[in-house]
């Protein structure tokens, strides 16, 4: 299959054209050319991706694999690594998400970035990102995957710091870069140990296996590693190895998870993602919500056979995942920056995906990845549209936008429905599936996940009500705000539609349709053997589904109560309080009408009002006070984590290293005597150490 490469190469061509001759093209022919090139290659890539998916689907299930070898990269003894692309059902899902969502976001960007001076640079980066991401998911070996892995990191860095004149943005870019390096170290070390472990296992294997499995050679090829570990004695030999006293599969799995956590913003490496919102909003939608941050989830599902070798690692990952889901949701409750709400929400949702993957729910994890890509892109672009219209990211300066930006409002609402997990919207099916699997593993995991889901519903509707409902922050704003251009809003509507449709389309539960969900069947060849059979417990499943619905509704109602019309509610409370204080006075004045009125309406009203006021004072305000305390606590915790873990771990390590560097500088005195003395000392030390070791 020679044409697979064009899916990858098309965006690269776009990036090359815009990156190299973008500036003169723009001067000569205007921005339209840039747009046509950038969006054109994306459309073509999307078309090819769909064609590839159709081709694959037309094949029999056991044969769903297309490999395209470009050239040999390494040939080292028995190790042979091709630069090859491979399409299987798993990568198909990924390339569909990347190219389709990517194309939509490219189209949206044309409107959003229309006034930016570095228009061509933006699209060059964006195309380059898509190229890297496609390479990541289509790469057939660890090496190819890693190229893409580094490439997306680089593009993310470039795009976060896109408006680099702002020092804060540049700093955010550096932060993302450095935190990702921690993850990359884990990834590289994991792959190195894996290679070493596999290499060391050959000698253990009985030689007769070589006859049966001629491909049992050292390899970096992903599919080959999979096939090799399917050979039972080989896998046993691998699993029996230890590194520094710990079982090798555990070490490898945890190191690879460290890599995944860096890219996918899991605790404690999430810190770069909220800051990454410094980039243009479409970038946040594409890279920091829909695609790049899911690379870690993809890696886990891709290497599920490896992770499955170590149940201990899976437990650790599940715990980290659910903790991230809870943590992200809690922090999102208290954000006033619209994009940061979505950023923490993304962290939380990625936690769900890891929870799914770590409980063996491979296809639900991928399912949630797909649905999340749709609704989170929709939400982000909606937020972008709002920011485009209001020129602020602070939700306290918004409000009452619903009539002003109807299309944005409706698409955002649909996105909220989807992420909150209401029936018929995408998030319902995928989140439910993950929670159900988590329940099978441990009810505690389920409980934590359910709480996170409730919080999700709450903070999403909070953001919706603060932004779109209630009264506008100011009169000037009412007049200044306008709906975004059509080139942007149709993308929103398309994504909103996808947020509804994708769920039931690919993941309608067996409970309802009577057959396994489409996505599960599609992924079966990839995750075969690792797929845990769903137990036949209809009752439990229904109960869990109902619980999810309740959870989502509770979150929604709470948000509606508190934030439906924040400003009006505050005003009403004030008048009500003064009114209640005035009731006895009115009665004493003897106005009959008033008395009558009082006897009938006001008393009745007063009773309900008192109840309501009591509720308001004691419950709602209590909740608000509690939330406030919680907000302070969360802010304190995030600040602490930011301070001690990022500025602690990153800066701490950096300080340590820099300190060591400065200490070394002191050794370099500039005096030649000390240098030559170093020769004598070095000789003595080398001899002593070598003899001692």
């Amino acid at each position: 299959m020679g044409w697979l490469r064009y899916i990858v190469l098309l965006p690269l061509v776009g990036a090359a054209i815009n990156g190299i001759v973008g500036a003169p093209l723009e001067r000569r022919f205007g921005r339209r050319v840039i747009t046509v090139v950038a969006v054109g290659v994306m459309l073509a890539a999307a078309a090819l991706a769909i064609a590839a998916a159709v081709t694959l689907a037309a094949r029999p299930e056991h044969d769903r694999q297309i490999v395209d070898r470009l050239f040999t990269m390494i040939s080292l003894g028995r190790v042979h690594v091709d630069f090859a692309l491979a399409l299987d059902p798993l990568s198909t899902i990924m390339i569909l998400v990347i190219t389709v969502v990517g194309a939509l976001i490219h189209a949206y960007s044309a409107g959003y970035m229309a006034d930016d001076p570095s228009y061509w640079r933006y699209f060059a980066y964006l195309n380059l990102f898509v190229f890297s991401m496609l390479l990541l998911v289509l790469g057939d070996s660890f090496l190819t995957l890693f190229i893409g892995w580094e490439g997306v990191g680089l593009c993310s860095y470039l795009l976060i710091g896109f408006w680099y004149r702002e020092p804060a943005n540049a700093r955010a870019g550096m932060k993302a870069f450095i935190v990702n390096r921690v993850g990359d170290f884990g990834f590289l070390a994991g792959v190195a140990l894996l290679f070493w472990g596999l290499a060391g296992s050959w000698s253990v294997i009985d030689h007769r296996y070589y006859a049966d499995y001629p491909r049992l050679v050292p390899t970096l090829d992903l599919r080959l590693v999979h096939d090799q570990l399917a050979v039972a004695p080989f896998a046993q030999a691998f699993a029996a190895k230890t590194f520094l006293g710990a079982p090798l599969p555990l070490v490898v799995a945890l190191l690879l998870f460290l890599g995944a956590a860096g890219k996918s913003a899991q605790l404690p490496l999430y810190v770069w993602l909220p800051d990454a919102m410094a980039g243009p909003t479409p970038v946040s939608a594409l890279i920091h919500a829909a695609t790049m941050v899911t690379a870690g989830v993809y890696l886990m599902v891709r290497l599920h056979f490896l992770f499955a070798l170590s149940p201990a690692a899976m437990t650790v990952i599940a715990t980290v995942g659910v903790a991230t889901a809870l943590f992200g949701a809690i922090v999102a409750l208290f954000q006033y920056d619209l994009k940061r709400v979505l950023a923490y929400s993304t962290i939380s949702q990625l936690g769900f995906m890891f929870l799914g993957a770590a409980t063996g729910a491979w296809w639900p994890a991928m399912f949630h990845l797909v649905t999340h890509a749709c609704f989170k892109a929709c939400l982000f672009l909606g937020a972008g549209s709002v920011i485009h219209g209001t020129h602020t990211q602070d939700m306290r300066e918004m409000g009452g936008l619903a009539p002003l930006m109807p299309r944005t409002r409706w698409s955002y609402l649909v996105g909220c429905w989807a992420i909150a997990g209401f029936p018929w919207a995408a998030g319902f099916y995928s989140k439910d599936e993950i929670l159900a699997r988590a329940y099978e593993r441990s009810p505690l995991l389920w409980l934590a996940g359910a709480v996170a889901a409730m919080l999700t519903s709450f903070y999403m509707f909070r953001s919706y009500y603060l932004t779109f409902e209630g009264r506008a922050a100011s009169e000037e704003q009412r007049h200044a705000v306008h709906e975004s251009p059509r080139s942007m809003t149709w993308v929103l509507l398309a994504l909103a539609a996808a947020s509804i449709v994708v769920g039931p389309l690919v993941g309608l539960p067996e409970l309802w349709s009577g057959r396994e969900p489409l996505l599960a069947r599609w992924l079966a060849p990839v995750t075969a053997g690792a797929l845990t059979a769903t137990p036949e417990r209809r009752g439990l499943e229904l109960a869990l589904m109902f619980a999810s619905l309740v959870v989502a509704t509770v979150g929604w109602i709470a948000a509606r109560l508190l934030y439906k019309d924040l400003r009006a509610r505050e005003g009403a409370l004030a008048t009500l309080r003064s009114r209640l204080g005035g009731v006895p006075a009115l009665v004493l004045d003897g106005f009959r009408v008033d008395a009558l009125y009082d006897a009938t309406f006001v008393r009745a009203f007063g009773a309900t009002a008192r109840t309501a006021a009591w509720f308001d004072v004691h419950v709602v305000d209590g909740v608000i006070a509690a939330l406030g305390a919680l907000a302070r606590a969360a802010a304190f915790i995030t600040a602490a984590i930011d301070h001690y873990l990022v500025d602690g771990a990153v800066n701490g390590v950096a300080d340590l290293l820099l300190g060591a560097g400065r200490a070394l500088r002191r050794v370099q005195t500039g005096r030649i005597n000390n240098y030559v003395l170093g020769v004598a000392m070095g000789v003595v030390m080398l001899i002593v150490l070598t003899s001692w070791l």
Partner: protein, 172 residues
């Protein structure tokens, strides 16, 4: 072993001169003393060469080292100090730090010298000049010729640096 052994006497004489002069190089307070102590060391080593039957080498040591290198060093000493200065300072610093590693390396070398079972063989017959000449025209032609290129370029290099230094002075 009370009989007088002229070989041993000469060896210890030469070794004594060499080592004591070397100590003078390392420790003398005046750099001119150091330079003259170096003369003693170099001459002592030349004597040891003769003792070992390396006649040509001993002469070469005298000619090249003492006649060439040492004179250069003296020139440098005098050019970089005011002539007539009574004490031409030659300070050592950090003896406390510097001595232990040097002593440690020396101890290692002495230990190795005494402990190693060197594969001894019969000595080389005395006049070596002819054999050296033969070797230079036969097996060692390559290094011999190559070193001439190196010497030429070393001259050029020394000239470049010295000329620049001189020019620099002229400019000022």
């Amino acid at each position: 072993m009370s009989a007088f052994n002229p070989g041993a006497f000469f060896f210890y004489l030469l070794a004594g001169v060499t080592v004591i002069s070397a100590a003078g190089v390392a420790l003398a307070r005046n750099i001119l003393y150091s330079a003259f102590a170096l003369l003693g060391t170099l001459a002592g080593v030349a004597g040891l060469y003769l003792f070992l039957g390396a006649d040509f080498l001993g002469v070469a040591q005298l000619l090249i080292y003492i006649g060439g290198i040492l004179v250069l060093i003296l020139f440098a000493v005098l050019l970089t100090n005011r002539i007539g200065e009574v004490r031409i300072s030659n300070v050592s610093s950090g003896l406390i730090v510097g001595a232990p590693p040097a002593v440690a390396v020396m101890a290692l070398c002495v230990r190795v010298a005494l402990r190693t079972p060197w594969p001894l063989t019969e000595a080389v017959p005395a006049p070596t000049t002819a054999r050296l000449g033969e070797a230079f025209l036969q097996e060692l032609l390559l290094p011999f010729e190559f070193v001439s290129l190196v010497l030429l370029m070393a001259l050029v290099g020394a000239m470049v640096i010295a000329r620049r230094a001189a020019k620099e002075k002229g400019v000022r």
